[in-house]
Symmetry: D2
Subunit: 377 residues, 4 copies
Amino acid sequence: MSGNTFGKLFCVTSFGESHGPAIGCVVDGCPPGLAIDVSDIQRELDRRKPGTSRHVTQRREPDEVEILSGVFEGVTTGAPIGLLIRNTDQRSRDYGNIADTFRPGHADYAYEQKYGLRDYRGGGRSSARETAVRVAAGAIARKWLRERYGVVIRGYMAQLGEVEIPFVDWNEVDCNPFFAPNAAMVPQLEDYMDTLRKSGDSIGARINVVATGVPPGWGEPVYDRLDADIAHAMMGINAVKGIEIGAGFSSVAQRGTEHSDEMTPEGYVSNNAGGVLGGISTGQDVIVSMAIKPTSSIRLDRRSIDRSGKPVVVNTHGRHDPCVGIRATPIAEAMLALVLIDHALRQRAQGMDVNSQTPVIPRLSPDGEQSPPAPTE
Amino acid sequence: MSGNTFGKLFCVTSFGESHGPAIGCVVDGCPPGLAIDVSDIQRELDRRKPGTSRHVTQRREPDEVEILSGVFEGVTTGAPIGLLIRNTDQRSRDYGNIADTFRPGHADYAYEQKYGLRDYRGGGRSSARETAVRVAAGAIARKWLRERYGVVIRGYMAQLGEVEIPFVDWNEVDCNPFFAPNAAMVPQLEDYMDTLRKSGDSIGARINVVATGVPPGWGEPVYDRLDADIAHAMMGINAVKGIEIGAGFSSVAQRGTEHSDEMTPEGYVSNNAGGVLGGISTGQDVIVSMAIKPTSSIRLDRRSIDRSGKPVVVNTHGRHDPCVGIRATPIAEAMLALVLIDHALRQRAQGMDVNSQTPVIPRLSPDGEQSPPAPTE
Amino acid sequence: MSGNTFGKLFCVTSFGESHGPAIGCVVDGCPPGLAIDVSDIQRELDRRKPGTSRHVTQRREPDEVEILSGVFEGVTTGAPIGLLIRNTDQRSRDYGNIADTFRPGHADYAYEQKYGLRDYRGGGRSSARETAVRVAAGAIARKWLRERYGVVIRGYMAQLGEVEIPFVDWNEVDCNPFFAPNAAMVPQLEDYMDTLRKSGDSIGARINVVATGVPPGWGEPVYDRLDADIAHAMMGINAVKGIEIGAGFSSVAQRGTEHSDEMTPEGYVSNNAGGVLGGISTGQDVIVSMAIKPTSSIRLDRRSIDRSGKPVVVNTHGRHDPCVGIRATPIAEAMLALVLIDHALRQRAQGMDVNSQTPVIPRLSPDGEQSPPAPTE
Amino acid sequence: MSGNTFGKLFCVTSFGESHGPAIGCVVDGCPPGLAIDVSDIQRELDRRKPGTSRHVTQRREPDEVEILSGVFEGVTTGAPIGLLIRNTDQRSRDYGNIADTFRPGHADYAYEQKYGLRDYRGGGRSSARETAVRVAAGAIARKWLRERYGVVIRGYMAQLGEVEIPFVDWNEVDCNPFFAPNAAMVPQLEDYMDTLRKSGDSIGARINVVATGVPPGWGEPVYDRLDADIAHAMMGINAVKGIEIGAGFSSVAQRGTEHSDEMTPEGYVSNNAGGVLGGISTGQDVIVSMAIKPTSSIRLDRRSIDRSGKPVVVNTHGRHDPCVGIRATPIAEAMLALVLIDHALRQRAQGMDVNSQTPVIPRLSPDGEQSPPAPTE
């Protein structure tokens, strides 16, 4: 119940600092009988790991995961699954100069105020390095969701700075370093990032994530609604400042006749709800969008104070992502997977027997495989 | 741990349906020694209750609260506080016709799929009537936060449909039925709603909430960050589709030099962070914005299906809010109070002794009393 | 998560003081579709209520329960069930004299130290009156367990003071005021209590509870073992000082060849385990025994101190149970039901599909219907 | 919230199997600023580790712990503490023959029924090897309790089989392999165990644990009472079948005048309560006693069945403790420490400010340093 456990039934307990010996987690509550191999997890970690293109941090971490428990003869046993990733490239000298300085936009001051001290090496616990363990745990969750319910979770970059990226094709997403669903945009994105990197500044991004195949009935009103738990998960990712479900902020200026999704015997005719009504999944695609702020570690000078309250000028050299949003897609997918499996298990606990659920509405969604509605357009 | 308890240490467990005998809650974990009178709670309930203007539902509910336990000789004892509000105006005949029909934009179908049955009277458990108990519990939380830490929580309507409402003065908020911080805008808002109501349609809104006086150090990384828990709380309010903290979605197109809030010996020079960094409060105002969708209960015809899957036409007469956002401000304030008190207690549990916290940065915020930055402008 | 919620998935949140306006609870997580009538709950409350014989307190409380929510057209909806019991016979004058005195054996001093103040009327929150809501919630749990799994939960008094009560017949239990499974012993017990009552003193008791029909597989190692959660539940009943599962303290002097229960194709040949191994149910009867201390409210003089630390002499007139163990049987049954339903739901969440469980051992237990082994003999 | 996390605020999440690559845990919620060195933890692990005398299992595990996170420059940071212990001596060949057999008294059958499969190597997750991580986590808890509140936690063996061990001196406890507080008894205990070991049988034991210096006010009624949480913790230790607090089962035959502990200006005159009243600590010693069953792994023949339901004869050669109670003392101490720190933090969260607590009763206990009352005599 302290802040490093995620989930109520599928529980991920995370540990580790950016520059400590290791990061890792314990996944407790995984149903038994799921075939899991290290490669299932490593594949997802490799999508997130640093150093894969010139547009992300050049820190070299292989992010190799070791399964310490909970898997026997290739399948989960129901016992907690210990996952371990050793840190290998933690050049602490890069960070020694920030021990007494609070970097603007970073959590330095907040951590110091909360705990009275902080592990300042590379941001310590507040580093986005921790998100690797979310991706690792999420890999288990998404495999179970796919095998047990046919749920597929996919994300993409929808906007880089002021550049909107029209959705074209899911197949493009893993073919470029931006997770852009649009091959034609990639040269523009590369130019954008090259220019930005040279300027020493950083930029924000918007990431969308979509889960297809979610059966109706997941979500626990009135407080642990599916959308509320998704918002909790996504806002809990480093650098996220905004969350939308379905039509999101566009709802503000919509009329009821425009927003509410009509139903027909053939299915829903729109998906402004983003797949959730009353906090419960409706059988439509679950659609989430999030805003990611620009990296606070930049080479340009910024004003700040040190621990004694004196003014200082801060700039950050070393290895940083000029757009943390670029590597955020696998993390957002993982967090959605963790929310969904948790609610799948919660529904199994209290809900009707799954077999007796007979959806009277066809599960057909108006949005086909290749065209998730960009939630806020 | 089921979905009707909010909070980890200051726990609100809610019960009750729109047209059952009563709604209420149990508040567990309230510190002892807080002076609480029924009037402290009733005052907040009266701000949310229906029937106070022509722009909201005409259901007549006095929403009179009874304290059943946990208060002795006028102060809290540390024992759970039972709160009860009897329903008095539940004309079930208004709703009988929806027993076999799934209303578009409502949770009818989702509830039926989840539980196999539903209390269809007025939306049953999914009705926004439940939010009264949040306001009641929140009244206790905000009183404690104010007395113990000087925290003040205030919200307002920032946009009604396409009409933006510039912030002018907190004192205006409680002087009009819209919670608009701008007296000059009120006639326009009234006209807008009158026209809308005659049309039979409904509209969305944007609500902002600001907490001042939050000390640095609240929030529990990495999963129960303060902003993550706020997002959970706000997205868990009926009809909310989007959440922003600080700069929110504006962050997407911001550069690092623009977004990250510089610090000086005199304080922060901006508040794009919205008072939270790394999931921990920074001492600045905590600023939240949310999108509220248009009411799904409208008089105009909408296509849907019935429980047998046959097409039907649905329209909803009876007593409904044409803009649920109008009454949402007290609810959003209450939820923010519930998140903050929970994290105050969590910080007391694990954190440094409060008395040893010596903020080196003056708590002065660049945003003065009268000008909270509209988060996304 | 504060201390007044019991259970992780079937959650009972209790409120109310002995001499406040009401006691009650919210039952969250109850599966939908269970037929529940007020009489189902009232029947169990009537077994526990005061004033039913001369051997228990003469306080007159009808303990009439009102269902406030969560039940629609006679069945549970999956929404939280609010239960309310008004206090009707709270003669506060009986207790005014203890406001400044700490009664020996009572929680007065502990409450004052914990909270800095206390509701001293009749013990306030520490009164065993609160156990009525456990019985009410337990009535729902046991009905579901019986209907869904065939689980039957029964308790009895096994010892009153130094008088052991040999088990004879379950049918006797509800035919005498002691819940004694032995009609022949009742006159002796009545004499015992009459003599005791005249003396002004009080006495302890031992209560056994047995659940039959529990399927194998319930319990969540390594910390939330079924027996661990039972111990938590039972030690959480007022006045309980000891708990045994199966052979209990007899295990200390047993050899492995005596203790471990051999298995044959026809079933187990003994039940020293008490139905739990490794923290998981085995399919045998779950057998629990508990020690209940003598009431601390007695007419005889006892030394104590007042709030200023000065010595005082305390004696308690008024209406008290000379043996709280007499009314403890329904409470212990209720708590066992609450633990079992919670673990039934937890097993549904994570475990194998129930239908695929094929116990290879016949569920036959060596202990027949009429002869639960007295656990510690 | 799954079963492998212990505690609500000081949370220990355990993982690992007897014969997997490692065991370990994550300790989340530890207050920052506690000086912790590997040696603080290793010292306690060494007390529990196997192979230290001829009376325990000869498995050779150094149980060397690695701190993976949460400690920086020698002190805790408030971030989760990852602890890792590699398994080094897991001769799986010892256990291959039990893959298809359910050993009597073991959890084999229960695990198989729960999860549909099991890691049969050395008992897998059900092995008492897991208790090493409890001892490791408990080492952190007890250090904090001692430094912050002066709480001292000590345990001892009170009975081995039918041999009662009178308490003489705490200083003896760590001077013999039995944790016996009585040097004179050690030769008799050694003879007892030598004879037993030769016979191939096993035996039970009773362990007592005492916490001194616990301030009044810890414990969260009505469900998470201090004694209830202690019972949960102790019954959750492998092989425990009974728990007593204070007078325990002796309470059954006590009268109120005998049981309830009188108070005087000089302190309590007895401690039948075992330091807990109404579920809250009273300032007296917290006294717990537990029954540990005989090891189920014995060389002698026992009847059982295999996975196909056919009768088999089981006997267990290999490396086993003939009395698991011998190594249980450090485990019981650790679990008591985990319960106490959790309640210390819970009290800090909700309760009065510690500094304002002014116990009116002197904290003097009638039981001096050298003579804890054997709880059930």
